[in-house]
Structure formats: C-alpha cells, structure tokens
C-alpha cells in the first residue's frame, strides 16, 4: 500500500506557509506586549496590528479603519448579519440570503428568524448560481440586509457578486458577502463590487486558524459583537490576537502576490482531474459550474455508492478528501448545497469533494486516478443499487 500522503482538502483548511509562521513567531515571545498598553513593548504590538490592517485594506481596496479583526470567519459572518439586523431593525426585519450559504450564515439567519426577523432563502439553479434578478425580485420595503456568499465551499460556484452589489447599492440595502472561500483565489475590490461587508478567514489562505476579519464600509450601522474593552475601536472587544493578525495579513499579502500563478496551477490540476474522472468512471456527475468555479475545487457525485465509504478507502490509500455525505457529519440529511442544486438524496450521499492547493502536483492526480476508479468499482460491486441497474441493463 502506498505510504504517500496526499492532501486534497484545502477548502477545509490549509497549512500555514513558512513565511507566515516566521512573521508570526516574534509576536508570541519577545514582542508579547498588550497592544492596549502605553509602554514601548505594547506600542510595538499596536503598530504591528495597524500595519496588518493597512495591508488587508490595501489588498481589498478599503480604508484601514474599515477592517476589523475577528476570531474566525464564522465570527465575522455572525457579527455582520446579527449586527446589521439589530442595528436596522427599526427600519425593517427582512433579510435576503441564499439556500447554499455556509452554516455560519444559514444558522445565524435561522437564529434571527427565532428573534422575529423574516428571512428569504433564495433557491439556486442546477449549478448553484443565484441570479441578480432573483435578488432584486426578493427585495421588499422592509429589507435591511442581503447576504450572498462569494464562492461556495462545497461545489466552488462563484456568484455574480458585483451585479448583486450594484442592485443592493441602488436600493440602499446593506450587502454582505461571505468571502471565506474566495479570498486568496479571487481578486476582491470592495468598491468595484459594491460590497458593504465582507468576511474572511486566514486559515483558508495559508494563514493561521483562529483569526478572521470583517470589512465594514464606513457608515454601515452595526451593533457591537463583543462587549468589553476599546479594542477595534470599541466594536469588537477582546485583547487582539497579535500573532494571528500578523499572520493573516502576511498570508493575504502572499496570496495576493502569487494569485495568478497559484490559480493557473490549480486550474490545470482541477481541469485534468475533472476530465479524467469523467473519462474513466461511469455514472458520475460534476457538481457546480464548469467555468464559474473556484480554481482548486472538484466535486463529483458517484452514483450507487456512499461518500463516507469512499473517503475511508481513499484515506487508506493516503488520500485526504471530503464529502457532502450525511455520514461524515453525523446529521441526517446530506449536504444542503447538493440538495439545493437539485440532487436526489441518494446522489447527494455519494459525493466527493477534492480541493487542490499549493502543495499539490500532477503526481498527486496520477496517484488519485490510479486508485479512485478501482475504489468506486469495488464499492459499486458491493452496492444493491448498482446490481439493480445492471440487471435492468441486461433486460
């Protein structure tokens, strides 16, 4: 058995780049000062945070005072949505989002429903796309917030954010985008996109876990998320995660610098994998859009088999991947995203997500394609569903 280990789950998380780690290290030990203090070592920390804020702002076309560091992408989403909802509830209590958002957005919206807000969950087409027209049609006089994810974490579909942003701006409605999967793969300029709030998470672009950021356009009303000290201009209290913030900025800077090269490589790996799976394995379906798709994302449904079995067998061959199967999460239903694009339950159960990243090579695809067709065939041989199809074919 192969002892090679191949990581194909970069949408889950990425390894911290050595340059990022190096930039972070001094802020754990020698420069450990609390940024809120007045003495030299504290001021050094404060300066590091402000430099990081400037870097992030420059990369997304914002002003430094519009960048707020958080503890995660999930926190950024929670803050944006609850913060805008509560700050604007006198104007209205209607929120528009989509049915394929990450749970950080979906469950936050569901919570707000229990608090008396009304939420419209827009359906998506078979590729996972929501149209600007759909968004426009859903707007009501009491709509106070629109939240549409930039790129989907499961199927990689990239939404028409600029067009939706234009509509939101014309109607004067606050527009949030969860860009957790997009950052590092898509160039983002908040002015061009007419985005009012944008969430990001460092560990998705080779930065550390436990740190994210929320862009909040100047003038956007938001209640505070964490109450306490005066950090982040009193809007997000708690002593800053200085090494994490430094790491986030460094990672984003590197991602921005290397983006074209990085994307070119990932797209080549992605397209080759898609082509080979379609060529070598029958009864498969690519989930998501072929072009409007994140550079590293491959998502297939394999009919007649179940995702967890597939993942276990891949793992035994040293390949780490992910699935939309219910069995991997312990919940009853398979992925809400796969159901939203119209997959029947049984096909959604048999899905496989492969997400490429920095360290992957063509040899990784060779190894994957060496084992995947055999694994799928083996599981199908065991499946009573496949048996039915084969006997039907014989008739």
């Amino acid at each position: 058995m192969s002892t090679r280990s191949i990581y194909l789950d970069h949408a889950a998380t990425t390894p911290v780049k050595p340059e990022v780690l190096e930039a972070m290290l001094p802020w754990f030990t020698e420069n450990f000062g609390n940024p809120s203090t007045v003495y030299s070592i504290g001021r050094t920390s404060k300066k590091a945070i402000e430099e990081a804020r400037e870097t992030v702002a420059r990369i997304i076309g914002a002003e430094p005072r519009e960048i707020f560091f958080t503890g995660s992408g999930t926190e950024a989403d929670n803050w944006a949505i609850k913060g805008a909802a509560y700050a604007n509830m006198k104007k209205g209590k209607h929120i528009i989002t989509t049915s394929i958002e990450h749970h950080a957005v979906l469950h936050t919206c569901q919570y707000l429903e229990s608090e008396g807000f009304e939420v419209t969950y827009l359906p998506v087409d078979e590729y996972g796309l929501v149209s600007p027209e759909q968004v426009e049609a859903a707007i009501r006089p009491d709509t106070i917030l629109i939240s549409v994810m930039f790129a989907n974490n499961e199927i990689g579909t990239i939404q028409p954010i600029a067009e939706i942003g234009k509509i939101a701006r014309e109607k004067g409605i606050c527009f949030h985008t969860d860009a957790v999967q997009a950052m590092g793969s898509i160039r983002v300029n908040v002015s061009d996109l007419n985005v009012d709030m944008l969430s990001m998470s460092a560990h998705k672009f080779y930065g550390p876990k436990g740190v994210g950021a929320l862009y909040i356009r100047k003038g956007v009303k938001l209640t505070s998320f964490m109450h306490g000290g005066a950090q982040e201009r009193g809007r997000r209290a708690s002593t800053e995660n200085v090494p994490g913030i430094v790491g986030l900025a460094k990672a984003l800077e590197l991602a921005d610098k290397n983006m074209d090269e990085h994307n070119k490589k990932l797209i080549a790996l992605r397209d080759r994998t898609i082509a080979e799976i379609e060529e070598k394995i029958p009864y498969v379906r690519l989930n998501g859009h072929r072009e409007k798709r994140l550079p590293g994302n491959v998502n297939f449904s394999f009919e007649f088999i179940e995702g967890e079995s597939l993942l276990l067998m891949l793992d035994l061959k040293g390949i780490a991947a992910s699935s939309g199967s219910a069995c991997t999460s312990g919940s009853l239903d398979p992925s809400h995203v796969l159901l939203a694009i119209g997959l029947p339950h049984e096909r959604a159960h048999g899905s496989l997500r492969l997400t490429f990243g920095d360290g992957n090579t063509d040899e990784d695809v060779d190894c994957l394609m060496e084992v995947l067709p055999g694994i799928v065939e083996r599981l199908r041989e065991m499946s009573p569903l496949y048996e039915e199809v084969r006997s039907r074919k014989k008739d």
């Binding site: 179940e306 067998m313 035994l316 065991m382 569903l385």
Partner: protein
Amino acid sequence: MMYSEKVMDHFMNPRNVGEIPDADGVGQVGNAKCGDIMKMYLKIENDVITDVKFKTFGCGAAVATSSMATELVKGKTIDEALRITNKAVAEALDGLPPVKMHCSVLAEEAIKAAIEDYKRRNGLTDNNGTCEACCRRCEDIHHHLDGED
C-alpha cells in the same frame, strides 16, 4: 469519529459479499434517501442457514455491520438467527460510534427481513408480507446530533 480496528477490518475485507441467485430468503432494508440499504440473501436447509451473502450501499459502519451479521447467522437455525440483536452485532465489532448505532439496527432488521421472506415463501407465517423494517423512516433509525457540522 473513530472506528474500531474490527470495524475497519470488516469494512476493508467484508465477509460474504455477493448474491445467492437461488436464495431461499432475501431481505432488503433501509432506503437510498437515508444513505444506507442492506440486502441479505439466505440459503436455508432444514431450518439451518447454510449460506449467506449481502450487498450494502452505505457508510463504513453499514458495510461492517452487514459483514458481521452474515458471520453471526451462518450455521445458525432460523430461531437462533432471529434472536441476534443489533447490540450483539455492534459488540462483535468491538463497538460502534454512537451516531452509527443505527447501522447495527439495520443489520438486525436485514436478517429478520430475509428470514421473514423465507417463511413467507414456505407458508410458515401468516404475515401478509409487509416488513416493518422496510418501511421505517430515516428519522426513526438515525440519531440526530446537533452542532456536529
């Protein structure tokens, strides 16, 4: 979530996979919507299960419990086989993660469904052919775990 070594062994090297074309009893439980289906074939002579095969669509635990269930029933009388519980299947595998216990329930029900089919074919039952296991809804056999995603 971690599987025991025994579960992984039965998943990777499942015993008795396949079909029996001239089976004396065939039982299928679960449904594709829930993500697992087990189909069990029995060969029965003088009330003794002489051969057994299975096919399963499902997760690692579903395959492993099917495999273990076939080992447990082989050579048993039908009365003995009917007394095999889901707990016995799980224990024989050195346990299952709590979210996967429903797979052992399916395995128990697959045995019962196949024996029921045998009895029906041989006029040994007045059951008119409905098997409660086959009509069970996912919600009844799956465990909800909140906050696990």
